[in-house]
């Protein structure tokens, strides 16, 4: 017996284009924000000034973190559930808004669809959000690349050379484009007028440390300090050089003066949404700006937000890094699960994802079980949201509900994709009940003052379920460098595959009896965290053989087709 949902008859773009949007000043009015406080970007986007942040309300209002079990490659719909839940909360009479990351433009032309939700749970204007939006990514790109130009200019300079050893420079240029040919380049060739030849390369803009910094900054002053703290490399006599040594941070902050302001848009049902900042969830914290979350809480009773990838990555970083820097305390945690992903963790191959199987769901539940246990370690009993697909059977859903109930956890079917807020009211009511019950009392997992190895050990054992952590020789050298730079007190941002609790993506479900291996360390001295590299990290995607861009068009009236 299949659960009946609205069959997909329209593409996300068609649904979004058919939406009757309200003028953004009317959305702002719902939040009590006057038009005069808005910086409009057309009729449907606006930036919000930072002085609207009100710490008293940040502390008083309710933050709901949406995360997920270990996902299949297609993702399990955290954004769709986050938006749907926001619609549902409003439907049941709560003042709620959603606060999300900004999508990256580059991948839109590759294979991936947009990242503005899906079906009847979307934020709009979808095309703008997926394209240049309000220019934040471009501003980050410019700030990143200004520092890069200043670094190479300093190496080229005869009179003001800091003695930077080009072989130690870790700062890459960035571009928001899937362009594999720029991953590794030799720059500065062509003679003495054209710089010093050295190895370099480009990452995609979302992978820039500037993105991570913007998302971690409290305000413009704090942003400037963090930009100045960016570690660039060493001089020939091993003195560390930071961006502040190049007097780069003032100009970089100027380039980010608008990007630091959160962007207000709306959901398909006309509820407010803030979309701001989009760092990677592996080498960075994978969640929107601290400023945006605080802005949301300043303006709305309930704020729904999400963190990238599964809970072992996104939620862990949210709760230990972002909450640590910001003082934010979620009052509820929504764990998104799909029957499809549970089948996957129960052994289904991709071609079997849509085949109902109680046995596989039962076996795959071990993955969700571990995520539920982890959530409780932070003092939070989660709510499980079963993001509904047409192939789900009632038996499978009932099984998940029963197994969750046995752990003292409610599992609610979320039909936001097919029905918008109509399909998420149960979920919304449950989340409000959990918050109202006051059972949740957030506490972080580890003390930042522990040693780097101790902190990684806690994450690996408590969250991943590993037996222990091994360190390569390069990683041990990295630990020495971290100590020499005096950065041992920083929190940990593990760069690991999202496909498994372990560092081996083939270990699905709930792996046991494994070690993780830290191959090397990176340092985000500006953003303020240490990155143990526990997997192969892709920082610059490529285009597929048939890029999505080939199917895109725009007519003389500006109507876009082929964007998904």
């Amino acid at each position: 017996m299949s659960v009946v949902t609205k069959p997909k008859v329209k593409t996300d773009l068609e649904i979004a284009q058919n939406a009757k949007m309200a003028h953004i000043r009317d959305i702002a009015a719902k939040l009590g924000v006057d038009e005069d406080d808005l910086e409009l970007y057309g009729k449907y986007k606006a930036k919000l000034p930072l002085n609207l942040i009100d710490q008293e309300k940040v502390d008083k209002n309710n933050l709901i973190l949406v995360t997920a079990l270990t996902p299949t490659p297609a993702g399990e719909g955290k954004t769709t559930v986050s938006i749907g839940l926001t619609e549902g909360l409003n439907k049941i009479g709560k003042k709620a808004m959603v606060v999300l990351r900004e999508p990256s433009l580059g991948p839109v032309f590759g294979i991936k669809g947009g990242a503005a939700g899906g079906g009847y749970s979307q934020v709009v204007p979808m095309e703008d959000i997926n394209l240049h939006f309000t220019g934040d990514f471009s501003a980050i790109e410019k700030a990143n690349n200004l520092l890069a130009a200043l670094i190479d200019n300093n190496i080229q300079s005869k009179t003001r050379n800091l003695g930077l050893d080009p072989r130690t420079i870790l700062w890459k240029r960035v571009i928001d484009m899937n362009d594999r040919s720029l991953r590794h380049i030799i720059l500065g060739i062509g003679g003495t007028a054209n710089g010093i030849p050295r190895e370099g390369g480009f990452n995609i803009t979302a992978a820039s440390e500037i993105m991570a910094i913007l998302c971690m900054a409290k305000d413009l002053e704090d942003l400037k300090v963090k930009l100045g703290n960016i570690f660039v490399g060493f001089t020939y006599d091993r003195k560390p050089i930071y961006a502040r040594d190049l007097n780069a941070h003032g100009a970089m902050a100027i380039l980010l003066k608008d990007a630091i302001k959160p962007n207000l848009v709306q959901t398909l049902e006309g509820n407010p949404a803030i979309i701001h900042g989009g760092p990677f969830a592996n080498i960075a914290q994978g969640t929107n700006t601290i400023i945006a979350t605080k802005m949301g809480l300043s303006l709305s009773e309930y704020v729904v937000t999400e963190a990238g990838f599964g809970a072992d990555l996104g939620a862990e970083k949210f709760l230990n890094i972002k909450c640590g820097y910001s003082g934010l305390k979620p009052r509820a945690l929504v764990l998104v699960a799909t029957i499809r992903a549970l089948r996957h963790h129960g052994g289904a191959k991709p071609e079997e994802y849509n085949d109902p199987s109680l046995e596989r769901v039962e076996k795959g539940f071990a993955n969700l079980e571990k995520h539920i246990e982890n959530s409780k370690k932070y003092g939070i009993t989660p709510v499980v949201a079963i993001n509904n697909f047409i192939s789900d059977t009632q038996e499978e859903i009932n099984l998940v509900k029963e197994k969750c109930a046995a752990m003292g956890v409610k599992a609610i079917v979320s039909e936001g994709w097919g029905r918008g807020g109509e399909g998420t009211q149960d979920l919304a009511k449950t989340v409000v009940e959990v918050i109202g019950s006051g059972v949740n009392g957030f506490k972080p997992l580890y003390d930042w003052n522990l040693s780097v190895k101790e902190k990684i050990d806690i994450i690996a054992k408590e969250i991943y379920g590993a037996n222990g952590v091994e360190y390569s020789k390069k990683a041990e050298l990295g630990l020495k460098r971290i100590a020499n730079l005096g950065l041992e007190h920083l929190p940990i941002c593990v760069a690991k595959t999202q496909k498994s609790f372990s560092d081996n993506e083939r270990l699905i479900g709930r792996p046991t009896n494994f070690h993780i291996t830290v191959r090397e360390f990176e340092i985000a001295a500006g953003a303020g965290f240490i990155i143990p590299i526990v997997g192969v990290m892709m920082r610059m995607p490529g285009l597929p053989s048939v890029p999505a861009s080939e199917g895109m068009d725009i007519d003389g009236y500006g109507k876009i087709t082929g964007l998904s």
Copy 2:
């Protein structure tokens, strides 16, 4: 005896920051444009929809082209005069607006000040205009780099490879940053997953052919056709490949859907200004978009616009390329001269530029004389605007006036920099008189149907005063390629030094008895012109030893200092 002008007591930034700006909807209202038609970008910037263009008004209203004599390296103040003249026209009761190019962001962090006018003749908000503005440059950058990524992706593809010979690819990536280390790079290194190794490089965004295309496009449909026409390179069997062969033009046009709309801002005196598009004046046409000029003429009785560098480059291209493609016909031409530049052409060294010298001005007048003669060849008797400096003497000014009068040309002192519209009313009255007299009847210099060599010959002899044109062996090969591609009918866009009528920058004044040498040809098949390279063209500037960025800062309230 020095002419008294207001001494410079404030920086451009200070003057701009102290300006009391009107809300942009009030500026639009002056043009009869309803707020509902505007796409606001904050309170002081807006994009105008293309449906406001009204061809009847374009034909009826008056276009005034501001150009200059051969400039010194500092430039002679065309933008300042253009803005000042607009203020003056409004002061004497005319409905006038200025239409200008957008400045490039990269050079702001190098040595150059902003490009939004100067003193009391500026467009505001100055910081925004000089930084990201409304994102047009970023959009152009993305469209350019999407094509680049698609090119390298096609070379990498096993299944859909067009057989492009990487050695023939002329398409560069762009970045709006002074970054000399990116001029020449080897990209695609690092193994089979990371592209095909080949030579490449980055130009600054203003040098992108996409910029030239955007400025030449009539509308979105025309833009798409032009993007598709971009010539990429040859296959191994010498078949030409265009952007349309990669199905790139639809997605590129999507990226430019907002950039194609002109940007409305205001002058210091609250008059309307459109700022849109900023192509190089050497390898491209050096003037704002056709759409912006037509928009201006649709909304205002008088439109003041400018073309980059001296009249031999900017005005020549404006009158022969832009007017040819758009049907625009200027009714007046303002030739900006400075006493400083006339001293320069009379032999003054840079350290002598401020030293009054009747003798040098008399000698240097030969340069201005040739520009006046050239203007008449287009059927236009120019008005000379003497852009006033504190070091100018009344005797020098009188001499210029007399010599102009002897040629039937009025020379008027323009004090816009020091006094705004108060200082340009004489110039405004004179321009209005010239237009009213109906003496000017614009005609282009050459017929596009002539051969490439014939067209270049006419420009060289008639405008530069050369005896003839020589072609290198490489240039002759280029001519064959142009013929093979069937592009001989395109107009000519000479890439030449702006410092001399000739191709030798040391030949100041009015050089005679010289040939110019075409070293090679470039083809802007998308923008629609052929570029004879007659000098060394810099497409990617570097940063100086002490970059301007080092002196820049922003405080916690967002107030910027050090931007000039």
